[in-house]
Structures are given as structure tokens and as C-alpha cells.
Amino acid sequence: MAPTTSASVLAGKEESRNDQELKPDTRAESYSQLHVETVSGINLTAATFVAGAASSTAAGLLLSGLSWLWLISLVITVGIVLGTFIVYRHFEMIRRRQKPGGSWLVPSNTPQPNAAGTQVPNTTSLPAIYFTYILGSGGHTAEMIETIKQSFRGQANIHRRYIISIGDTSSLGKARLLEATIKDAYPGEDDRAGTSDIFLIRRARKVHQPLYTAPFTCLISAFHAANALTRMPNPRSTKDHGKGFRYPHVIVTNGPANGFIVCLVAHLLKIFYLVPENRAKVVYIETWARSKTMSLTGKLFLKTGIADVVGVQHESLAKIFKGSQYIGPVSAGFLRR
């Protein structure tokens, strides 16, 4: 009984919050009115899952009045089962992963003599494209913005979500500026600018924060990340677009700590079937500044295998680190001309 009531309370809260806070966005809105959302709750599905599992287990154990030995052995069993399940799902997902093919990873260096209709790949006919970009700090953000610009193509079926740490006003400004640039490129009723929103999540570890509290703050930002990944974009309601924009298609990060947490959460959500497997593809792009050594985050992504693509921007680096792909200098566009 307990889990259902808690869930319903949560659901009620969620709905009322939705009503008062979230106004429907129009596509023609200017960038200054761009919807920025701070997270204060967690996603309904995840909450129900966690709350239900925890409370039913605890209640069951307490009521049955088992001895401590039984309790411990049960915990261990559950742990082993869960661990095996996670490991199995992890490797199963990696095995089934679509291996990126040769020619499409490297951006074309020479202009191709193509007519207007022969652009490959052509994604204009897809029902929905939903990108999530994680903006870090300073150089990371500058590189990410450049990468987005280098890969941008005006299409009405694209939604972009920017995930930014709370307090990172510089990245927020850059994201807004980028959206303004995109809007300027497609003025008026031209809907090829697509839609966008910005999510603010808690920083994994603030500067000078004591190390022993880091796991807790990481957990909080993980919940925020889960929310940012599973909350549907407001301009793309189920009514108009079905489940097309339910979950992000591609998550792009280039190195900030928050980026790893968001991607890890995305991977876990996929492991527990909370997000379908053919969604939330993770692309990690190693910063252009690294040409011979990999950053710590890069190594983490390589070792854990949670990224679908670990892209590096120097050929020399791709040769040293097996499993990484050379994708060209995507955040230094001027070098390709």
C-alpha cells in the first residue's frame, strides 16, 4: 500500500508543478524567452521504481521478522543478482551496439560536388531528432559550441537541449547566444531553427568542497541528470509528436565532470530498461587540446565503454588509444578549411 500512495503523491506534485511552472513554448519565441528549467524533483518513472523497490523490500523484511543472518544473506543475494544483471546487460548492450562505420566518422575534407538533393546522410525525413549537449566550463564550452556550429543543419525536426551546471553563467550566455544565432539564420516563420531548451543541474563537485561529501553531491547531480534525460521537451508535446521526443537520441559531451555523470546515468537507465536501447547514444569528444595523452574523463569513457563513440581530434591520439575514433578537428573548424 505504501509505495502506491507515495507514488500518487509524487505524481500529484509533479502535475501541479507542471501546471504552474511550465508554460507552453512557441517555436517563434525569441532567445531571451528561451525556457530555462531548474530541476527540483526527479522523474516519475525513476522515482516509482526506486521508492517501490526500497519500501517493499524493507517492509517485507521487517514484517517477516527474520533473523539477522537471513537478512544479510538476502541482501547479499539481491546484490549478486543485481550485479550480475547489470554486468550482463552492460556487455549485451555493448555487443549489440551499432559499430560506427568507416567513412562517416571522418568529416569530408574536400567539398563534394553534390547537388542539393543528394546530401548524405539525410535526416530531414526522420520523425524526431533530439540532441542533448552537456556544456562544461571555459574551454570545454567554447569547444562544444564550435562543434555544434560545425555540425548544425537547419531542420524543423530537431530539438536541442543544453545541460549546464547551476552557477555557470558564462556557459548559459554562450548557449543563449548560439540559439540567438540559429534563430537569426532562420528568421520569422521559418521553422528550420528547430526548438531548444536549457536544463540547469547541480555541479558534481564545487571548487574547495571537502572530498567526503563529494559522493552525496554526485548522487544529487545524478538525480538531476536523470531528470534532465527523461523530462520531455516542452515545445514537443506527446500530442503533436507522439513519443518521438520522449528521450534524447544523442548525448554529446566533451569532458566536464557533469558530462560523465549524465552519461553514466543514461547508461544505467538503459540497463534497467527505463530508456529504450536505441536512444541516448553517447558521444564523447576528447578536447582538441589533447594530441598525445587522453584526459582522465576520456580514459574513464574508454575503460567503462559507456560511450558509443569516443572521438578524438588528432590522428596521433587515435593510434595510441585503442577504441577511440579519429573524427577530425570538429571543434576547430578553421583547421579544416
Binding site: 562517416w104 594530441s291 576547430a332 579544416r336
Partner: protein, 323 residues
């Protein structure tokens, strides 16, 4: 003139520590020089003011009112600028926003470095000093004299306008140099603006991948690796690179931002392919199209290769006929 300088001070919104009074005093003294010597002023101070007003009028240079200057220009520098009617070289030093970099700041105001700048026809040294602004300010004030103008400020969001001032534009200004810490954001922005760059890695940072980046840039010829203690060498090499390098950083056309959206032929398509992996059927289709394109391209290439000797033989035949 007085009116102009005061509006410059008031319109500027950047939050930097300024010493307006000192700056105004200097301006006032400059004005007296101008008025006493008439319009054809021959002193360095008077010329400097004239030159500045010309810049304001001609190229709409961003205003730099808040920066305090202390100047004593060498006469041959001024003569050079007067001859070519171009803005002189600017050396812009930046340490970025995140961390201080005192060794770099203290090196750029050594007499050796300043003389090097003056010898190479630089007329302006501008320093973005970050958290060490007050310390640097004192250091500059304690300098007995300087052959170039030294301007300084703590930080601004809009760094691009300062970088642009070092960009060598045809009949507008001579190429200067940006001496920067090895932050990737700074480097990318400076290189995008086609400004000569000297990268100085901070040796005190924990892992020295900055040096790695600087070496890489030096080897590709995009920038000069500046080592602390040997910055004069780096300036010389940078000037060499500007004069002879493959980047052609001299006599550039005025800066225009790259086209946005990027043309389809130059676009990065990685994210599109990743999206397609979420739609397996569509991915198969597009990959098939891509394969066809590749086949077509290789066929065309073969055709062109086959054509080359053919056209030659045709030409040969014509030649033979003519003979």
C-alpha cells in the same frame, strides 16, 4: 578632445579596476601639448592622441577608455606609423580567467622584452592580467620608463576585440601578436581570428598537457611555442612566421565571421549518423546511399585519371598537326 575622452570613460561598461583620474590627467597634459604646439604637433604625445582619434573615426575601433596608459613612444615608431597611416603593432598578453600567471606578467614588463617590442615596431603592449591586476599595476608604475605604451585591465567577456587589434589587416593595421596562456578556448579563438599567436604553457599547472598542445601547434606551424625566460625569441619567431609562414597572417581582408550554417559540403555529419543509429531502417538506407556515393566518387576519380593522358595526347596531336 577633452569631451571625447570623458565620454570614452563614461560609455565603457566593463568592470575593470580603473584609474580614471590618472588617465584623464595624462590626457589633459597631452591636450596642452597639442594646443601649445598647434595641429602639426611633433611630440610623441600629441601624435599619439591624433592617431587615436583617427582610429576612432576610420575603423570604428572598440573603445578602450578604461585602460590606464603610461607612454613614452620612440620617435621612429611614430614616424613609421605616420608614413604608412596604419595602426602599429599591438602585443596583447592574456592569462585567461581561471588562474593567475605571474611569471608571464613579470616577464612582459622586463626592459629586455619591452625593448624587443620597440625594436620590432610594436607601439602598444596590452595586458589582461586576471586576478593579479593590482600587483601588475604596481609593477608597471614602478617602471622608470617604457619604450612602448602599456595598457592593462583585469578581465573582460569580450576578448575578441582585443585580439582583433593584433590582426594584420591590409592598409588598416600591421600584424601584432597575442601572447597567451595555453588554454584551449583562448587558442581556438585567436587562431580562428587569424591573429599571430605565441602560446606560453604554465609550467606550474598539475599535468602539463598544455606544453603538449603548444608543441603540437609549433610543429603544425599554427603558432609559436613561447617558453618563459625566452619570450623575446618567441616574438622574433612569430614575426618570422607572419612574414614567411604558410598561414599568410599579413595583409588580411577585414575579418568576417565564418558562414553559419556551415555549407553542407563542410559540415560535420557525425551526430547525424549517431541519430540514424536510433532508426536502424533509415540507417541502412542512408548507408547504402553513402556506399553508392563512394562508388560513384571512385568511379569519377578513375575517369579523371584516365582522362589526363587522353587530353595530353589530344594536345600532342594538335601540336604535331601544327608542326
Amino acid at each position: 578632445m577633452d569631451h571625447l575622452t570623458t565620454t570614452k570613460h563614461t560609455t565603457d561598461t566593463e568592470a575593470t579596476h580603473t584609474q580614471k583620474i590618472a588617465g584623464q590627467k595624462r590626457d589633459a597634459s597631452a591636450i596642452t601639448t597639442v594646443s601649445s604646439q598647434g595641429s602639426s604637433a611633433s611630440s610623441g604625445e600629441g601624435l599619439e592622441i591624433r592617431n587615436e582619434s583617427k582610429r576612432e573615426g576610420e575603423v570604428k575601433r572598440p573603445k578602450l577608455g578604461e585602460e590606464q596608459t603610461s607612454s613614452n613612444r620612440s620617435d621612429n615608431n611614430m614616424a613609421l606609423i605616420e608614413e604608412t597611416s596604419m595602426e602599429g603593432r599591438q602585443c596583447f598578453v592574456t592569462v585567461g580567467a581561471t588562474a593567475g600567471f605571474r611569471p608571464l606578467l613579470s616577464e612582459v614588463i622586463t626592459p629586455e622584452f619591452l625593448n624587443c617590442l620597440a625594436d620590432n615596431h610594436f607601439d602598444l603592449l596590452k595586458v589582461q592580467c586576471g586576478e593579479d591586476f593590482e600587483w601588475f599595476d604596481e609593477q608597471v608604475k614602478s617602471l622608470p620608463s617604457s619604450p612602448v605604451t602599456i595598457e592593462r585591465f583585469a578581465f573582460t567577456e569580450n576578448m575578441a576585440k582585443h585580439y582583433i587589434r593584433s590582426r594584420g589587416e591590409m592598409s588598416v593595421r600591421m600584424p601584432g601578436v597575442v601572447v597567451a596562456h595555453a588554454g584551449s578556448g583562448t587558442i581556438l579563438e585567436v587562431l580562428r581570428l587569424q591573429v599571430p599567436l605565441v602560446v606560453v604553457p604554465n609550467p606550474t599547472l598539475m599535468d602539463n598537457h598544455q606544453a603538449e598542445l603548444a608543441q603540437e601547434l609549433e610543429s603544425t606551424g599554427d603558432a609559436v611555442y613561447g617558453r618563459l625566460g625566452k619570450l623575446t625569441e618567441a616574438i622574433a619567431r612569430s614575426l618570422e612566421l607572419v612574414a614567411q609562414g604558410p598561414l599568410k597572417l599579413k595583409d588580411l581582408p577585414p575579418y568576417s565571421p565564418p558562414p553559419f550554417p556551415v555549407p553542407d559540403s563542410e559540415r560535420v555529419t557525425l551526430f547525424d549518423w549517431m541519430t540514424l543509429t536510433c532508426y536502424p531502417d533509415e540507417l541502412r538506407k542512408q548507408q547504402h546511399l553513402q556506399d553508392l556515393r563512394n562508388v560513384e566518387k571512385s568511379f569519377q576519380r578513375e575517369l579523371e585519371q584516365a582522362k589526363v593522358p587522353q587530353t595530353e595526347t589530344v594536345q600532342d596531336r594538335r601540336q604535331r598537326d601544327l608542326d
